[in-house]
Amino acid sequence: MLKDITLGQYFPGNSVIHRLDPRTKLMMTVLYIVALFVAGGWLSYGLMLVFLLSCIRISRIPLKSIVRGMKPLVIIVIFTGVLNLFYTDGGKVVLRLWSLAITTEGLKRAVFMVGRILMLVSGTFLLTYTTSPISLTDGLESLMGPLKKLRVPVHELSMMMCIALRFIPTLIEETDKIMSAQKARGADFETGSILQRAKALIPVLVPLFVSAFRRADELATAMECRCYQGGDGRTKMKLLRYHRNDLAALGIGACLAAGTAVLTAFGL
């Protein structure tokens, strides 16, 4: 049950997109998001959609798993769609329901906003689906490198993120185990009011926190035993290097952002 969480899960693979430098993918994602917010017409939206679908295709990630990952968003998407549908003025009135009117402009806005959310989420899913957590944090650390001059603890932040990501599956497994153990003693997580159910979680949360602290302690000791000193003078086993593919990808990303900007400027 808990193991079915797919949000931000990494799908191992060997496609062109998988092999790109994580920094390239991060920058591409930023460009993609910028382009998505710049886009304002049917044609520019179409261009973004074509780009997204071809990226998904190239990455060989099954469309099904991307759709499955978006399930938790259903409510937000419906909410956005309905709000935009009814509360946009301008254009011809298509349908009138009591005092509410659906206009052509409203229809357009609703479609664009829903499309934007869906494309935003699936685009960022593509990043986490094709990049392992380790290389993602590596890429972030390298991209944020210049911030070190402003005394931002970049290495420490990325190490923390790396450890957090590493321990998510461990903690999920642990939660499952503790829940089973308490169920064996008659704990009931499935029935009762919300308050009762929240209370029923105490026997799970306390041992979970205790074990998380214990693990943290053990990990800290293990790191100290290996003379971990923080980022200063630390070298990498896997050096990040840009290849020709990365340049090409970044070029495509820049073209995409520029293209949508030009199309929008012409009102397309």
Binding site: A184, R185, G186, P203, P207, V210, S211
Partner: protein
């Protein structure tokens, strides 16, 4: 012996219908008599822990039935919950499930969930604590202040306090020192005698299961491959070794003695070995 728990042809598949599908149990059947002490041995990943969770209704078998006193525990929601109380399950490293402010409250968690009145809860908590050797002072202490061995015993008492008719333990002595091991095993035997309960114990120690149990179940590759008294199971020494298991050291010594031409029987506990050697000695003296 009157059967209390009956497992009929159960199979269990993890994550059915996904690429991660994994068969953890295949067509396992056996029945458990009241008061019986059964050991379960098997290599890591042979399905032992999965099987244990089928017995008290934590996992629902993909196919097959688990009968408690003749009724299927999955036939009714109430029965499934009842099964959790009548079949007590102690997980591996149970001390990691302690959560209450005092040891007393933690042991009382199970009995309270059963809906018993305060007096009965108190009787059961004190009974279980006394059985595993937890003093009154320790009952008032925080479970996190106890030593490792005491935590383990407090956690086991938490299941014993439900007074289950079947007590299942998944490697109850893992990670304990020899004195702690012996104490816990003795307390489990004591519980069985007092309550005439059936005990199922998963263990990697062939010495322990040989000494304590009446019957051994051997799991290998999700299947139940042997079911019989230890004396009989340990005669299949070679097969057991092939499955990544072993036989008690004393059995190994006696097998070697036989190979060397001495007329000794198959033994699997130290006391049997002693008897056999005495008989041998006596025999040669009389000859």
């Amino acid at each position: 012996m009157e059967p209390i728990l009956e497992v009929r042809d159960i199979s269990y598949v993890y994550s059915a219908g996904t690429p991660f599908e994994h068969r953890a149990l295949e067509n396992v059947s056996f029945s458990l008599g009241r008061g019986e002490f059964v050991g379960v041995i098997g290599h890591t990943g042979s399905g032992k822990s999965t099987l244990m969770q089928q017995l008290n209704g934590l996992l629902k078998p993909t196919s097959g039935q688990v009968l408690l006193d003749g009724t299927d525990i999955w036939s009714d929601k109430k029965l499934t919950r009842q099964a959790r109380f009548r079949v007590g399950l102690v997980f591996q490293y149970p001390e990691y499930q302690l959560f209450e402010e005092t040891v007393y409250q933690d042991i009382a968690f199970g009995p309270k969930n059963m809906g018993l009145d305060e007096k009965e809860v108190d009787r059961r908590v004190r009974g279980a604590a006394e059985l595993v050797g937890i003093t009154d002072d320790q009952l008032k202490a925080s479970p996190f202040d106890l030593s490792g061995g005491q935590k383990r015993r407090a956690a086991i008492a938490g299941v014993m306090a439900m007074e289950p008719e079947v007590l299942i333990l998944d490697e109850p002595t893992a990670g304990l020192d020899p004195v702690g091991r012996k104490e816990i095993l003795d307390q489990i035997s004591e519980y069985r005698v007092r309550r005439n309960a059936a005990v199922v114990m998963v263990s990697h120690s062939m010495e322990d299961v040989a000494r304590l149990t009446d019957r051994l179940l051997v799991l290998c590759g999700s299947r139940l491959v042997m079911d019989g008294p230890p004396a009989e199971v340990f005669t299949h020494a070679e097969e057991l070794v092939e499955m990544g298991l072993s036989i008690p050291y004393v059995t190994q010594v006696f097998l070697r003695l036989r190979h060397m031409g001495l007329d000794v029987p198959n033994v699997y506990t130290l006391s049997q070995a002693e008897e056999a050697l005495m008989a041998l000695k006596g025999g040669t003296l009389h000859a």
